[in-house]
């Protein structure tokens, strides 16, 4: 009997330890919870789900989202996502939020199928679903908050490269390093890039190579390209992994400035390359504004001011935003150069 008493004491110890951990990490949140219950009548609960929690890209989106929630006043914003980027965990979160009958769930699906299934189930329970940053099947959500259309991005990439190469008629060979050959976003951008290259007849596209979202492979592929095409003038790295990989390869080859690299990535990843001249411009959108617009759209949807078929959305400090079909467009490409890149920290 004596021995079991000791074990029970230890059991209580474990419980206490768990309680303390929970309280320590989530103390602030649980206090917030209590406040929610009092004003539950008017509150709109919006869940913002990133592809992966903890990535600087999404953390800065969340900052903008919080700003919008504060401005609106009646919004309780929940920002959570899988820390390991697992689509299954993300789907589990959507399931739980739907059971809790939140008002809106805004999803950046890291797997459109796995998340799509959970999103459809949530819609059947009467929860508003929108996507942001990345899309799922149209019947899984009501709107998508689109940071930039494929056309915006494709054109901006080519125009930026043309400007960086310079001259009235920019001239030279260019190559694209993409994510995977099947990546939907990237293929859409490449289509529009090819279209835009028509405007610059002396820029010739000599290769499109996959990097399989592996920075080392991007590095290797770029080295091969530099060897195979000695007259190469520009490289597009069109994923956040391909871009730094390509820049590093050009830098190590000692041809910084002679071969220009541009593409899509977060400013922090590219700052060093921008300052040493390997990269003149980094193309992206304002992530804070993306989060801000998402919460604005979600709140409007929950309160009934945004309905299917609308052509405009009042987006607070961003002004009026255009809606094309079911796509709410942020429509602001941001080009980072050595003059402004240090103003952004993500």
């Amino acid at each position: 009997m004596k021995s079991s008493a000791g074990v029970w004491c230890a059991a209580l110890g474990v419980i206490a330890a768990v309680a303390i951990t929970a309280a320590a990490v989530a103390g602030g949140v649980s206090g917030h919870e209590g406040a929610r219950a009092e004003t539950a009548a008017k509150k709109i609960t919006i869940c913002l789900l990133p592809k992966k929690k903890g990535l600087p890209y999404f953390t800065t989106c969340a900052k903008g989202a919080e700003e919008a929630a504060k401005e609106l006043g009646n919004v309780e914003l929940i920002y959570d996502g899988p820390t390991d980027g697992s689509p299954e965990k993300a789907a589990g979160m959507v399931d739980r939020w739907a059971l809790q009958k939140v008002d809106v769930i805004a999803v950046s699906p890291n797997d459109p199928e796995v998340l799509g299934q959970a999103m459809k189930k949530a819609r059947q329970k009467g929860v508003h679903i929108i996507t942001w940053d990345a899309d799922a099947a149209p019947d899984a959500r009501e709107f998508m908050v689109n940071q930039a259309t494929g056309r915006d991005i494709g054109y901006a990439l080519v125009d930026t490269m043309a400007k960086d190469i310079g001259g009235a008629e920019p001239e030279g060979e260019v190559a694209i390093i993409t994510a995977t050959l099947t990546a939907a976003n990237q293929n859409e951008w490449i289509k529009h890039m090819k279209e835009r290259l028509g405007k610059y007849p002396k820029l010739t596209l000599v290769a499109v190579k996959p990097s399989n979202e592996d920075q080392r492979l991007a590095f290797q592929v770029t080295q091969d390209l530099l060897k195979a095409h000695p007259k190469l003038k520009g490289i597009f790295g069109i994923s956040s992994v391909a871009f730094p990989g390509a820049a590093e390869a050009v830098k190590q080859s000692g041809r910084s400035g002679a071969v220009l690299v541009t593409g899509l990535a977060t400013p922090n990843d590219m700052k060093a390359y921008v300052h040493d001249g390997t990269v003149r411009s980094v193309v992206l959108w304002n992530t804070g504004d993306l989060g801000y617009l998402t919460v604005r759209a979600a709140a409007a949807l929950a309160s009934g001011t945004l309905k299917a078929g609308d052509h405009e959305l009042d987006a607070g400090r961003l002004g009026t935003k255009k809606i094309e079909g079911d796509q709410i467009l942020l429509g602001q490409i941001l080009v980072f150069t050595k003059d402004n890149i240090d103003d952004f920290d993500f």
Binding site: G6, S30, K53, M93, L99
Partner: protein, 306 residues
């Protein structure tokens, strides 16, 4: 029994806490719907219990799941009837497990090394043959396996109940179950006593692969997707649940009841923390603390007994 009692008590306390914090969470409807989240974890934990009691380990379960899933997806895409594609997926899982079994039982390589190698190899194979492309668009009838209900109870849960009962009976009431404990207690002694050690080990790893194959099929039905990156890291969750349930990582000790309680505790904690605090990082911390706590408890208990 003592350890199971402690875990059961912890589980009850978690549910009481849940009832107090979030009455909606402990409703039957919510619990039934959330229960499907634990399917893969629970199903894989059963053969893992046998394997760990027998002194082994299987790290390749998640990768085997992916391999089976990809098999199902590609066969479905090629027009194979789904029952046949599912059977093939489960068979591929069993074959993958059998390969582990051969290396452990006949070649006599340590299971940690064997399954560490196949953890990588099976995932690579799955990625390679699927080229990383997911397959979806399974018909409603097939999705019923994962998302359907019978009298309100999700089908995967019914599958689990049957699997748990079979596993419980085999481990505690059959000669094979007795062999598993004997091997885990002292493999050399077991050999001398005429226990067919190799055959039992081969059988256990094959069974584990088969369960992983089934998990891959049910996952495809549950989320309408077959692809190569499912189940990544699930082997560690499974081992955590099994150890939490009181199975000794050194073999020789443990029960299916304990494993079921361990799985239930992890599942309920995970869902409650996600439901109430909505912080994914917190889930990992809580599970880590519970695991260390329970192992400390186990040590304390066995020291007192000794």
């Amino acid at each position: 029994m003592l350890h199971e009692g402690v875990i059961a008590l912890l589980l009850i306390l978690v549910m009481v806490l849940a009832a107090w914090l979030e009455p909606g969470f402990i409703s039957v409807g919510a619990q039934l719907e959330l229960s499907t989240h634990a399917f893969e974890l629970a199903l894989l934990a059963l053969p893992m219990t046998f394997i760990i009691i027998a002194g082994g380990i299987d790290l390749s379960a998640g990768s085997t799941m992916a391999l089976a899933s990809v098999t199902l997806g590609l066969l479905h895409q090629a027009g194979t009837p789904l029952w046949l594609a599912s059977a093939a997926a489960v068979s591929v899982g069993a074959a993958a497990g059998a390969v582990n079994g051969i290396f452990v039982s006949a070649v006599r390589i340590h299971p940690l090394i064997v399954t560490l190698a196949t953890l990588a190899a099976y995932r690579g194979l799955a990625e390679g043959i699927s080229l990383g492309r997911p397959v979806s668009g399974f018909p409603e009838g097939f999705q019923w396996i994962g998302a359907g209900t019978v009298l309100g109870v999700p089908v995967p849960v019914l599958v689990l109940i049957v699997a748990v009962m079979v596993a419980g009976v085999v481990l505690s009431r059959t000669v094979a179950g007795h062999w598993v404990y004997t091997i885990g207690g002292n493999e050399l002694a077991a050999r001398h006593c005429g226990v067919p050690v190799g055959r039992v080990q081969f059988g256990l790893y094959t069974l584990s692969g088969m369960a992983a194959g089934l998990a891959g099929v049910v996952f495809a039905a549950r989320r309408n997707t077959a692809k190569a990156d499912i189940g990544a890291g699930i082997e560690l969750e499974v081992i955590t649940a099994v150890v939490l349930g009181g199975v000794s990582i050194f073999g020789g000790r443990g029960t299916i009841t304990g494993t079921v309680l361990g799985v239930a505790l992890i599942h309920e904690l995970r869902e409650l923390v996600g439901w109430h605090w909505r912080r994914d990082e917190l889930i990992l911390i809580v599970i880590g603390v519970i695991l260390v706590g329970s192992v400390l408890l186990n040590n304390l208990a066995s020291r007192r007994r000794a």
